[in-house]
Amino acid sequence: MDIERIDRIIDRHQCQPSSLIQILLEIQSENHWLPKEALERISRKLDVPLSRIQHIATFYKAFSLVPKGRYEIHICMGTACHVRGAPRILDTVQDLIGIKPGETDLDLKFSLETVNCLGCCALGPVMEINGKTHGKLSPAETIDVLKSYE
């Protein structure tokens, strides 16, 4: 990610240290991950210790320090979904793609994460891929949905 894009995002927040998390969110959203150069740049421009940025980038689930796949799969493991069988959906996805939560497949096609509640509890179990929500899933339907992503 080039320095100009990073600078633009930082300047949009008036270089405010209190906007650190918001800046990281924007970079993550645009770039799909946080390269080290971006963190160093932010540290310098905001005059914030790199160790703090390191902590924030690893503390929050929204951030990734490694490149993610084209399709980011989020499986809801909230209570309502859990009670309706979310663990089986997770197993199905893991078996089909061959990765565990937090991992990305070798083709950089799919990344898998578990989330603790997407707020669509009436549709449990729920899986979200790149912002599109798929609800009321069964293991068989989950396989169909995944196969539909090229």
Binding site: F59, V83, N116, C121, A122, L123, G135
Partner: protein, 643 residues
Amino acid sequence: MKRLNSPEELEKFRQDIISKRAPDKPCITLCSGSACQATGSRDVAARIEEEIKKQGLSDKVDIRKTGCHGFCEQGPIIVIHPEGICYFRIKPGDVPGIISQTIKEKKVIEHLLYIDPVTKKKIVHESEIPFYKNQERLVFGSNGSIDPRSIDDYLAIGGYSALGKIFSGMTPEKVLEEVKKSNLRGRGGGGFPAGKKWEGSRSAPDDTKYVIVNADEGDPGAYMDRSLLEGNPHSVLEGLTIGAYAIGSHEGYIYVRQEYPLAVENITLAIKQAEAYGFLGENILGSGFDFNVIVHQGAGAFVSGESTALMTALEGRVGEPRPKYIRSNVKGLWNKPTVLNNVETWANVPLIIDKGADWFTQFGTEGSKGTKIFSLVGKITNTGLVEVPMGITLKDIIYKIGGGIPGGKKFKAVQTGGPSGGCIPEELLDLEVDFDQLTKAGSMMGSGGMIVMDEDTCMVDVARYFIHFLTDESCGKCLPCREGLRQMDKILTNITEGKGKEGDIELLEELSETIIAASLCALGQSAPNPFLSTLRYFRDEYEAHIKDKRCPALSCNELISYYIDPDKCRACMICLKKCPVDAIDGGKKKIHIIDQEKCTNCGTCLEVCPSRFSAVKKISGEPVPAAVPEEKRIIEKGTASPA
């Protein structure tokens, strides 16, 4: 958009808007909350717009994409005004018919109506459907009438009249008095009296004060705040502004989870609109009062919803709770007096100011006034968001509104208060829901998640689930929470896997005592609650897991086996073909047997066995019966099938 410079101008503008809206003009409202969008309401919306144009009705029919209606199980939902005809589970293909028959010819389409499962009768009007009828939708009800992206819609239903009222001669002290009189208690989980919290900030000797909306709704299974923020963002803004005026704050923050992109979008837009109209910014409605609001997003951490952690995150540091004994309303954000309240709490404020504390206190119980929005989810027929007066019984919520347990299953428990709460068993279903009653029963109100569980839910697994959730979400700063929950997670997991041993329950209780007494923040202090409450009411399940290696709910994977009853099996081969690991041996007319070595307990065979045979069952705590000898496995022609 013109800036409104006085309460009088506001009223005049409101009348202007209302006069331009014909109350009899047909209007199609389509629920466009996140859940309905996930079931396809966007395609339905597109189709409606297309059909209206096609059938030449563009200026004769209004379309309104509203926020969440609450009956999420039945979405997408359409309500046709002014008649109030309610259609459910709409697909794009239903739209042409709705336009030509219901809109044009005023005819009701039977198969899109709600069917009462008890009377089996079809119900036409929203107000008669038991799900809605038994609620008291003071705060949430407006969701169905407004497009959250239209400030004019909000004005048309009376929005911002409370704001106009306070700037028509109410001093900040009077506003504070009214909120105190209403006895409004925080709706985010703590249940602390809002008026008292505000007063503490008002009297703190500091010129800089802050107000914060906590929209970091993290309890899994709860999505009330999401729907309020998405569906009626102005109600929250109005409440926040009123609160800021009451305590003397000029800067407000709305901390929203980044997992709620639509809520972030809608509240950001609402702020821009409010600023344009003069409801935010400098000299609001000509009063001389300035107030600005900034939106901050969370980044995926449950613990950052704890108030001190949230404030730390707003300061740009890691959102970990702070060890402190001075209340945040005295020393909070940047060490200044800060009032932090939940979304729903703020949304109640305009109603209290507009209609008065006396009106508000007629709802609810002695200790808990007003209503509460709950997310009724899990093993329940009518999944969705319900708003009920405090004091309603759990039984009424689950049966009258919720429609009971689906699939003919038996109710087992209802979990309230999220990971900080507890489970309430059947014998306490007559409990009147309010802050104190729930706490007495070993649970708590929490933010409003209400997860219903049935006979197939293992309560030990429920405890393990919540403890595991908290080990994932713990910030890790303090020892008792970080290490204590780690140990509890290990022990509970072992118990569900049949590795529990004598003394485990006592060790879990000892750990619970330390975690509750010594943890730094409320996450840790309340973490053992799900374990303690399930132990209180379902101790027999724990003992069965530990002593008999048996799961009474037949749920824990390591403790159950799938078995095909040879007396019931008709060798239809369906389960054999569907088994993903080819663990079933058998053939046409040859009774099927599951190879326990290969079986992964996926449950597919149980799901697909035809109900007239019901040959597959789960067993636990006993060995799988020996296989029937080969000769007995052949089903003779003409053998009578079992009764």
